[in-house]
């Protein structure tokens, strides 16, 4: 944790209110996001219990699995989920704009611009917390390899038609969420934690209710009290007033309310199956419907507070203006969405269970690049974030007190003016350290030369001054200018070209599939997931 965020947390404790960490919003928020609040069954990984989903805060769709251990009911749930989510995704697929993409020509190896389609906007999924992102990933994995009756008439347990497709989209969204700064799938707690510092631990910050209590406490109450209430307060029935944001449920809810309700449902179903005549069956069907409705009521009561909280979080975040570079990052997200849309349209198979060596390395390099770009971009967009970097010695702001023209010693001298700055910051500079500033939206590079006796520091400007002997107008700072320099680069260099997967070298096991193929589980051969 950086010094400035520690300070913000201390101030939050003292004032009883979360403190802002930013002055702008560093993630793009869609006009019409799809909020997804899932619940899972205790003790059974990947067994959904219910969900609220929708892009209209006033009209969420409630989906429920009345007996989570029944796989048919689970499939019904997933089919309903696909019907709720896929039309939302599809709505963005056809609205495209022309764009350019650089591609490497396989023969010449040169990069060329090709015309391409880019979706004008992309669908955005919001879940309450980080565990929700993991759950989306898990659902994606459990669905994308399923075969429908249409794909494989011999499949013993065919999946409903659109379920595998939803699995592929969920997998894509969950994988994209691992890219720093990406906004296709976001967790409300992550968004809030990026923009505010609460007075509790970062573990407690994963509780959406408690976090909102710090950021936006009720009138006349401190954030700490409200957060404690959100975490612990229970009603007369012993149930939490602010249920956990899921996907895990509160054990007291499971034991006292859910388990008896599911048991009533099971009994009603059994009774229906053993009904001897039509009249009795009708009667028992009514009982079953009542039992199912009771479970729906219970789950809705658990889910609604979280649903409201997620939208409340979005309201708070929307009050911040969007950072300049968040829009550029969103364009990458749109490319990501468009790319996956194209892969599905082209009939490519679902994402493999595991990345091969080249894919894994490519992803890591891209993510590291995204991380560095995100850190630089947030600081450049936001003086408060930059203040944190300055406090950490990674940037400094100062006033220009002197500019001395100077040139390189060569036949055609290029300008290398010396700029003397006075700063109160304490950057970690050594001779020759490169520093950067923004000049007309582009980074200009300089190097640190020396400290002057009275503490001012001298920089030598290195580029962006044109080709002439004298620097282009405006490219060199003037006396009295106040400039912020960073020790980190603003843009990232091009990544190296990795081999094609088919050309994976011997050090990394050769091309994928050339070694021994992975065997299915010997006891349960269907377990290839």
């Amino acid at each position: 944790m950086s010094l400035i965020s520690t300070l913000a947390r201390l101030e939050a404790v003292e004032s009883g209110r979360a403190q802002p960490l930013t002055t702008v919003r560093h993630r793009h928020l869609s006009e019409r996001p799809l909020v997804f609040v899932p619940l899972t069954t205790a003790g059974e990984a990947g067994a959904p219990l219910g969900a609220l989903v929708g892009s209209d805060r006033a009209a969420p769709t409630l989906l429920v699995v009345p007996q989570p251990r029944d796989r048919d009911l689970r499939f019904t749930f997933l089919a309903d989920l696909a019907e709720a989510v896929l039309p939302y995704l599809d709505a963005y697929a056809d609205d495209v704009e022309p764009a350019e993409r650089s591609e490497t020509d396989p023969e010449t190896g040169k990069k060329t611009k090709v015309e391409a389609e880019l979706c004008a906007d992309a669908p955005q999924l919001i879940v309450p917390g980080r565990a929700g992102i993991d759950f989306v990933r898990l659902l994606g994995r459990s669905m994308r390899f399923r075969r429908t009756a249409e794909q494989d008439p011999d499949a013993p347990y065919p999946a409903p038609p659109r379920v595998p497709l939803l699995g592929r989209w969920f997998t894509h969204y969950a994988e994209r969420a691992r890219t720093p700064g990406a906004a296709l799938l976001l967790a409300a707690t992550d968004l809030l934690n990026r923009h505010w510092a609460s007075g509790q631990s970062s573990l407690e910050d994963q509780h959406l209710g408690a976090l909102l209590a710090w950021i936006d406490p009720p009138e006349g109450e401190s954030g700490a009290e409200a957060a404690l209430r959100a975490e612990l307060a229970r009603g007369a029935d012993g149930q939490l007033l602010c249920p956990p944001a899921g996907p895990a449920t509160d054990p007291a809810f499971d034991n006292r309310l859910l388990a008896p309700a599911v048991e009533r449902y099971d009994r009603a179903r059994q009774a229906l199956q053993t009904a001897e005549d039509g009249l009795a069956a009708d009667e028992r069907l009514v009982q079953l419907t009542i039992a199912e409705r009771e479970i729906r009521r219970l789950l809705a009561a658990q889910l609604m507070p979280t649903w409201t909280a997620v939208w409340r979080a979005l309201d708070l975040l929307r009050e911040l203006p969007e950072g300049e570079r968040a829009a550029a990052r969103w364009t990458s997200d749109r490319w990501s969405f468009t790319g996956h849309r194209d892969r599905i349209a082209a009939g490519e198979p679902p994402q493999p269970r595991r990345d091969d060596a080249v894919t894994a390395a490519t992803k890591l390099l891209r993510r590291e690049r995204a991380q560095a770009e995100l850190e630089a971009g947030e600081a450049l967009d936001d003086p408060l974030v930059m203040a944190g970097r300055r406090l950490a010695g990674e940037a400094f702001a100062g006033e220009v007190v002197e500019v001395t023209p100077a040139w390189t010693e060569s036949k055609r001298p290029s300008p290398r003016p010396l700029v003397t700055l006075r700063t109160d910051d304490a950057p970690h500079l050594a001779e020759g350290t490169k520093v950067y500033r923004t000049l007309d939206g582009k980074p200009q590079k300089a190097e640190f030369v020396t400290y002057e006796p009275e503490g001012a520091l001298v920089l030598r400007i290195l580029d962006k001054m044109g080709r002439a002997k004298d620097p282009a107008p405006g490219s060199v700072p003037d006396k009295g200018d106040r400039i912020c320099w960073t020790l980190f680069e603003h843009e990232q260099r091009g990544a190296p070209k990795l081999p094609d997967p088919e050309a994976t070298p011997w050090t990394h096991g050769g091309p994928p599939g050339s070694g021994t193929a992975e065997q299915p589980d010997p006891l349960t051969p269907e377990d290839l997931l």
């Binding site: 190896g109 691992r178 720093p180 595991r354 990345d355 091969d356 060596a357 080249v358 894994a360 390395a361 992803k363 890591l364 390099l365 993510r367 590291e368 995204a370 991380q371 560095a372 950490a392 010695g393 304490a426 970690h428 020759g432 290195l462 190296p496 070209k497 990795l498 081999p499 050309a503 994976t504 070298p505 011997w506 050090t507 990394h508 096991g509 050769g510």
Partner: protein, 446 residues
């Protein structure tokens, strides 16, 4: 029983490595080298022998300074050997000293260097080279500091060569990623793992050698470093007790820093212990204590006697280093040294001190003053680097209570399936070092 002859043991190991490299049938040879065991010497010698055998080779190092250092060493040994230094397009891409070497050609394009006996560059630069630029893959490569190279960096360059000698120190800091790589943990080709672990996971039959003798570490340090960090691949010191001596021209003034210096001169180790306290990372008292120790080291006119020269050599600022865990700590120490008028002492983090050698090191313990023991601060490699840079003595400055801290914070990292457990873990290694340092403790109430 015959006495251990370090020279013979080291020569035997080197011969076996060169035999496998020059005449072996495997595509790769892996050499583990403890600190100061002559890794660079081995790389230079292997390069020369391969070149002499008419087999041009490429050399992959990790940083530009390592590359420049290798070029200079090669030119020292074989001034007539045509060497290529492939460099980046940045300004000042290589050490200016290379301009004075007649047989070293420098270029930022691999094609310009094709045909030279040895071409050296960083892994990052090689990653941008295409095999076709240089007329097909090299028959041989040497990968230096292979344990500090990431698996994905090896993936980017492995297509450039047919066979390779991988040399490195498994005890130093592992490579790291700034983005989360957890999803690939346990895969044999985890891109964030070290190049050697991927290489050996896919090619377990490759011959593995190790260098058995540390020429840098004194007899007082080799057993501790070997036991604490290399328990299964022990090594010895190339020198014996009494071969090296550190003496001061000015007598002790009785202060704690001076007593710590005397203890270190006597035994090779000293622990200057400050009172227990939780502090910010740049603990002002500890930083001042480090600076004070360095100041006294210089003021007391240290002189180092070693096997390198018959006469004592004055201990100058250039022969002293200060090691820290974090960059802000290093910056704070630099500022404190400047206040005391000390210049020319290398002050840096463990990451940047890797591969370097000094007579005396002063270390700010990574766990000093901390309320918690995170994976970063416990990392075995960090402590190993800090405790193995010196030829004569190492003085550790630390707050009391680190052993309790270690016991209060057992490692809680999630266990990943398929990941080889590194042993010893940081917890174990820290205890081993601290229990040894406790015997050389000097308590100070500043």
């Amino acid at each position: 029983m015959t006495a251990f002859d370090p020279g013979a043991a080291a020569a035997g190991a080197t011969d076996a490595i060169l035999a496998d490299t020059l005449h072996g049938v495997s595509r790769g040879v892996v050499v583990d080298s403890p600190p100061g065991a002559g890794k660079s010497t081995l790389v230079v010698r292997a390069a020369l022998e391969l070149a002499a055998a008419g087999r041009p080779l490429m050399v992959v190092a990790q940083t530009n300074s390592q590359v420049d250092d290798l070029v200079v060493r090669l030119a020292e040994k074989a001034p007539d050997l045509p060497v290529g230094r492939l460099h980046s397009n940045d300004s000042d891409p290589y050490d200016k000293a290379l301009d004075d070497l007649d047989n070293v050609r420098k270029s930022s394009k691999a094609g310009d260097l094709a045909g030279l006996d040895v071409v050296i560059s960083t892994a990052a630069k090689w990653a941008h080279v295409k095999s076709t630029d240089t007329g097909g893959p090299w028959r041989h490569a040497i990968v230096d500091e292979a344990y500090q190279m990431r698996s994905d960096a090896l993936l980017a360059v492995a297509g450039l060569f047919e066979r390779a000698l991988f040399v490195g120190d498994p005890g130093q800091l592992d490579p790291f990623a700034i983005a989360d790589a957890e999803q690939w943990a346990g895969l044999s080709y985890d891109p964030s793992a070290s190049a050697v672990s991927t290489l050996l996971a896919h090619n377990p039959e490759l011959p593995q050698h190790r260098l058995p003798v540390s020429w840098r570490l004194p007899a007082s340090a080799a057993p501790l470093v070997s036991d604490a960090f290399y328990p299964f691949t022990p090594f010895r010191s190339g020198t014996d007790h009494g071969d090296r001596r550190l003496a001061f021209g000015v007598a002790s003034d009785g202060s704690a820093p001076d007593r710590a210096l005397d203890e270190a001169a006597e035994s090779g180790w000293a622990l200057l212990e400050l009172p227990a306290r939780h502090t910010p990372r740049t603990d002002p008292e500890a930083v001042r204590a480090v600076a004070r120790v360095v100041r006294r080291l210089l003021d007391r006119g240290g002189a180092a006697t070693s096997e390198r020269s018959p006469e004592p050599v004055p201990l100058t600022a250039a022969r002293i280093a200060v090691g820290t865990a974090h960059r802000d700590q290093a910056a704070a120490v630099r500022a404190a040294l400047a206040e005391l008028g000390v210049t020319g002492v290398a002050v840096d983090t463990a990451n940047r001190l890797q591969g370097r050698e000094f007579d005396v090191t002063v270390v700010l313990h990574p766990l000093s003053g901390r309320p918690d023991a995170t994976a970063f601060h416990l990392e075995t490699g960090r402590l190993c680097v800090l405790a193995s840079r010196h030829r004569h003595a190492c003085i550790v400055v630390c707050r009391a209570g680190v052993t309790d801290l270690l016991d209060d914070h057992p490692s809680t990292e999630p266990v990943q399936l398929g990941v080889t457990v590194k042993f010893p873990d940081g917890w174990e290694a820290n205890h081993a070092v601290l229990s040894h340092l406790a015997e050389h403790r000097v308590v100070w109430q500043p």
